[in-house]
């Protein structure tokens, strides 16, 4: 593979350096090879390129593996980065690429393709992977020379469990690709399974048993992956709208008492499966001329139709896939579009009640909704709080409400609600003595309230700085009196507020960050952690842009270097996001 001259050079190198140095060099080269640009070392901060390799194997045997990931919240990326390191350690070459950076014309040339991809929304690909996903389904490329394997990330609490990964796997196969392994569906605790999957892939690829890779063995089954969800019950004790009259928002503070102690951490979320609205269910029953008291089989169980429609199946905004199936069932032409089940029945009626039953059997289960827990285990023991803004949207010019948020915000006091715990490992409090910069406009405040209340209750020493924003100071300052209290007692060292619509020009949290740039940098440079929470678009993007600006300007770094700096913070766990 290498010319003799080059080989000599390498031999020379090998003789000149100690083993440790060689290991470092190999890692460095591998890094260069797969990223085209070395991570810059940053002045004054010890972010030197890390030593990743501890085994050099003969280059001649190396295979080139393309590792493509599609991520929304970063899990797939993390899994891919871990895998890439391992592949290098294993002596193979690896090209790590995000789905949105992938050059489609490379596809037929791939020999070894590993895909790690998550499922989002209602069984949809991550936004950044949508183009790749579409291309895969549109192309006529032949992948006869491609061996591939797919690691599907997802959550078993969603009805479309790992759907995107499954579809990518099927489609690669359809295009002629050879499966190295069947697609592996991973739940939220994917780390161990992903590790095992990679071992298997490498073993198959090199047709040799994989030697133990690291000195410290992986501790398999040390802690058996928590299979299934942790379900728990809460009883609503308070459900109040935090916004005052005149606001365009309706953000509820919902307090539950818990029967049993729940072991959660600030930053974790609760999953809720909402029920459909009574009125809609009745409209459907009326249209179909059934009472709802008839029984029907759905999946492996049987239900009263009313119960099924009320509590089990999603009847809103059905996917195009479902609409297509329905069109086939009723034998009518229906355009490719999402539709409510009621509208389908109304415009393209079923012939009889048998067909109606067949139609409801097509439906998917209602997807769970996640809500960041806004209470703190230390401050609100025995309770769980959520902070939920009623989602609104226009449909045919009429104002409609999101299912889950409307359901929660209208739960009467004393209702018992089943929830499950959704751990968010990437979004927890930093060590007690670390400073924390929290940026959470709107309901992004929810987990931050948990953070602050927890730090308050524990009396931690790290400083805290909150950036909060909403539309209007008078009506929308969520948890205002609590925040004032924390400011007065000193738990919050700084509070920066942005009320976008109280003046002619719109002011958002990122504008406050710009105004405070020097001090913000001071905090960051002194080791502060950064947590962003709330709307992904456009908030978290805009905030991140400003963060990079701040780092660049006050840290005297080029834009690229500042971006890399932030990436490093993220790697070090000092920069985390909980955005949706």
């Amino acid at each position: 593979m290498l010319a003799e001259a080059q080989m000599n050079l390498i031999n020379e190198l090998v003789q000149k350096h100690t083993k440790e140095e060689l290991i470092w060099i190999s890692g460095y080269l591998a890094g260069l090879a797969n990223s085209n640009a070395a991570l810059p070392a940053i002045n004054g901060n010890n972010h030197a390129i890390t030593n990743t390799a501890n085994k050099v194997s003969s280059p001649a045997a190396a295979k080139t593996i393309t590792l493509l990931y599609g991520t929304e919240t970063g899990n797939a990326k993390r899994a891919a980065a871990t895998a890439a390191n391992k592949i290098k350690q294993h002596g193979q070459r690896v090209k790590l690429v995000s789905a949105d950076q992938y050059k489609f014309h490379d596809l037929p040339k791939e020999n070894n393709l590993l895909v790690i991809i998550s499922t989002q929304g209602d069984g949809d690909p991550p936004i950044a992977a949508q183009k790749f996903y579409d291309h895969l389904h549109a192309t006529s490329d032949k992948l006869n020379d491609t061996s591939y394997a797919v690691l599907a990330l997802g959550s078993s609490s969603y009805p479309q469990f790992c759907k995107t990964g499954i579809e990518v796997d099927e489609q690669l196969n359809r295009l002629g690709g050879k499966r190295i392994l069947p697609v592996l569906k991973c739940d939220e605790d994917f780390e161990n399974e992903a590790d095992e999957w990679l071992n298997n892939v490498l073993q198959k690829l090199t047709q040799a048993p994989t030697p133990p890779i690291v000195a410290t063995p992986v501790t398999p089954a040390a802690k058996p992956a928590e299979k299934g969800k942790k379900y728990f019950n809460g009883i609503v004790v308070t459900n109040i709208n935090l916004n005052d009259e005149g606001s365009s928002k309706e953000t509820h503070h919902i307090e539950f008492t818990l029967n049993d102690e729940l072991d959660y951490k600030p930053g974790d979320a609760a999953g809720v499966i909402p029920e459909n609205q009574e009125e809609t269910v009745h409209k459907i029953l009326n249209l179909a001329s059934v009472t709802g008291q008839e029984t029907v089989d759905y999946k492996t169980e049987s239900y009263l139709i009313y119960n099924l429609l009320k509590k089990k199946v999603n009847i809103r905004n059905l996917s195009e896939r479902l609409v297509k199936k329905y069109a086939v069932l009723v034998g009518q032409e229906i355009p490719d579009t999402r539709m409510d089940f009621y509208d389908l029945l109304r415009i393209y009626p079923v012939k009889n009640s048998e067909q109606f039953i067949a139609a409801i059997q097509l439906l998917d289960p209602i997807a769970p909704r996640l809500y960041s827990i806004s209470s703190s285990p230390a401050a609100h023991s025995g309770e769980l709080h959520l902070t939920v803004v009623t989602d609104t949207f226009l449909k045919n010019g009429e104002k409609e409400f999101g299912l889950g948020s409307f359901y929660l915000n209208h739960l009467p006091v004393d209702t018992q609600l089943q929830m499950f715990l959704h751990r968010q490992k990437h979004f927890h409090l930093p060590p007690d003595d670390k400073d924390l910069i929290m940026i959470g406009p709107g309901t992004g405040l929810a987990p931050l309230r948990s953070f602050i209340a927890e730090r308050d209750a524990l009396g931690t020493s790290g400083r805290n700085w909150l950036f909060f924003g909403e539309q209007h100071f008078n009506t929308d300052f969520l948890y205002q009196t609590e925040i004032q209290g924390w400011k007065e007692t000193g738990v919050l060292n700084k509070v920066s507020l942005a009320f976008s619509r109280d003046q002619a020009e719109k002011i958002y949290v990122q504008h406050r960050m710009q105004e405070e740039a020097a001090e913000l940098w001071d905090w960051i440079n002194n080791g502060a952690y950064i947590a962003i929470c709330g709307a992904k678009n456009p908030m978290s993007k805009d905030v991140e842009t400003v963060l990079i600006d701040v780092i660049s300007k006050h840290g005297n770094l080029s834009h690229e270097a500042a971006t890399a700096y932030l990436a490093q913070l993220s790697k070090d766990g000092r920069y985390s996001k909980d955005v949706w």
Partner: protein, 564 residues
């Protein structure tokens, strides 16, 4: 009354002294974005700049549950000596009210206007907008001379303009010297390193308490001249202004359950001529303030008004101290006679042939509602540029200085928006009523006033009609607490809030404002008020002497009135 210990200082004294000329921490407090409020020391200081911190009391409980702080805002009161605005100023006020406050322009019992609901972030823009219209709010609150009132209506006398002009002259003389207002709100540059400026009148301590001056022109006592700390009564002989009687020590407030507090009418100390120039007159006014500054009690704000100082020093004692300072003796008071205390509703012409229309504005709230679109009418009138705007001390407005040739045009606007209708059709008792602001903005209110009196009057009207008293110009006044902002102690019927829905009933004040009323019943609810007054009207209608007013009748027969 015991001699107060003069070493005692109320907490406000310290705040004033340490404020560097009323600056204190106002700037950072107004900027602080986490709250719509300001800290207590700043609350006290911004009063001197014409603002009160308030909150919407209707929304306290709900907002507390929502984890929102109280809905804080500021009430801003204009300094308007004698209460006159040009058409351009009216237009500015109209727009400022719409942009920065609740939109209601509230005429006060002291001839000026207040805007309510100005949020903290709007305060500075509001004051800047006022400044652009040559309006300010300096010293309309605080321990300082307040808005100077003067007989409102030019038909009062051919000398009205001259006498009324003293309101502005006195106000200017008694302004504080600090530039704080200009620096803080109007971005005037600070002059050098000096942090507070010499103020020989107010010094660093200002007055012990608020100080009010009113100028009356007999025989109409529309300004309630004797309810002021300093009442100036114009003495006119042969159509010439001779001088003023000087009356000191009026004040209407009391505190429920505090025997040391009481309302009091001013005592006439003497007379000063202005025939050969007004230096002595102005000097006397100035020194009335310095006596109060030096002798007023600073230990307890409830006992700090001039009325307590004069009762402590004695009327003669106050006069002597005053004369010591002025260097001349007051002449003996000239005789004067008040015969009425009213607003001249409708169209009236003055001696110069200019026309004035006084409109009834219930409780001073200028707005557009089902009864009349007074706010729109006044806006259109201002746009014509053909009328001036004058406030009365009874919370009403006069559009005036209208040429004969413009009268029809102005009248058409007033008619079109139902203002004439409202004024003509309001019953006699309604047109002579005053209610203070009270809920939802006044932090001191114990009971409703302006939101309730109109309803109560609607219930009293048939009772009066029953006894043939519908045209009797009875003066009824309601206040939400015993501070007396609606001058309830100086009414024929005074209703003073004690708790939500309950009022003390006071009767027997005279119609002209020279005798205060007497409490005859405690904490009545509406039904009890109606019963009491039904009984009073019944006996008045049968037992009154020829020409006797309700107040005089009640006072004469007080001992017969059942006291509950």
């Amino acid at each position: 009354m015991s001699i107060p210990n003069n070493n005692l200082q109320s907490p406000v004294e310290k705040i004033k002294k340490e404020s560097h000329g009323l600056r204190g921490n106002i700037v950072p407090a107004v900027k602080e974005p986490i709250t719509g409020s300001v800290p207590e020391d700043v609350v006290q200081l911004v009063k001197f700049h014409g603002m009160y911190l308030q909150d919407d009391r209707d929304r306290r409980e709900v907002r507390a549950e929502k984890k929102l702080e109280r809905l804080y805002s500021f009430m801003i009161r204009l300094r308007l000596p004698g209460g006159v605005l040009t058409p351009d100023q009216w237009l500015a006020l109209h727009h400022i009210a719409g942009e920065h406050s609740t939109g209601v322009i509230k005429i006060t019992t002291r001839q000026t206007v207040q805007l309510h609901g100005v949020y903290k972030s709007h305060v500075k823009p509001t004051l800047q907008a006022f400044n652009a219209a040559k309006l300010d709010s300096i010293a309309t609150c605080g321990d300082i001379n307040r808005n100077v009132t003067a007989a409102a209506h030019p038909v009062a006398s051919p000398l009205h303009e001259k006498i009324h002009g003293y309101a502005d002259k006195i106000s200017t003389m008694l302004m504080p010297k600090t530039r704080a207002y200009y620096e803080i709100w109007l971005d005037e540059e600070k002059l050098g390193e000096r942090i507070s400026e010499e103020d020989p009148l107010y010094q660093e301590r200002y007055l012990p308490r608020k100080f009010k001056i009113g100028i009356g022109i007999p025989p109409n006592n529309d300004v309630d001249v004797l309810t002021n700390d300093l009442g100036l009564i114009a003495i006119i002989e042969n159509n010439e202004l001779k001088g003023f009687n000087i009356a000191v020590g009026g004040g209407l407030s009391a505190t429920h359950g505090n025997e040391q507090t009481y309302p009091r009418l001013a005592s006439v100390l003497g007379y000063v001529s202005v025939e050969n120039g007004d230096e002595n007159f102005m000097k006397a006014i100035y020194e009335v303030l310095t006596v109060q500054r030096d002798f007023g009690y600073r230990g307890d704000r409830k006992l700090a008004r001039v009325k307590y100082t004069i009762d402590r020093l004695g009327v003669d004692g106050y006069r002597e101290e005053l004369e010591k300072r002025t260097g001349f003796k007051l002449e003996p008071a000239k005789p004067f006679q008040f015969t009425e205390r009213k607003d001249w509703y409708g169209w009236n012409k003055n001696h110069k042939g200019l026309w004035y229309y006084t409109a009834f504005v219930e409780n001073g709230r200028i707005t557009d509602d089902v009864q009349s679109a007074t706010k729109s009418a006044l806006y259109l009138i201002a746009q014509t540029g053909k009328a001036m705007f004058r406030f009365t001390g009874n919370q009403n407005i006069t559009v005036g200085d209208v040429l004969e040739s413009d009268k029809a045009e102005i009248n058409a606007i007033l008619e079109k928006f139902n203002v004439t209708n409202l004024t003509d059709n309001a019953s006699a008792i309604r047109r002579n009523s005053i209610a203070c602001v009270a809920f939802n903005t006044c932090p001191l209110a114990l009971a409703e006033a302006q939101r309730y009196l109109p309803t109560l009057i609607t219930k009293l009207e048939p009772v009066l009609a029953k006894y043939n008293l519908a045209d009797d110009e009875i003066i009824i006044r309601m206040t939400g607490c015993p501070n007396g902002c609606g001058r309830s102690p100086a009414a024929e019927i005074g209703l003073v809030g004690t708790s939500y829905g309950h009022y003390n009933l006071h009767i027997g004040g005279d119609r002209i404002g020279t005798r205060l009323n007497t409490k005859v019943a405690d904490s009545l609810n509406e039904e009890q008020i109606l019963n009491h007054l039904d009984g009073l009207f019944a006996s008045y209608s049968t037992g009154k002497h020829e020409g006797e007013t309700l107040g005089d009748f009640a006072n004469r027969t007080l001992s017969n009135v059942p006291v509950s």
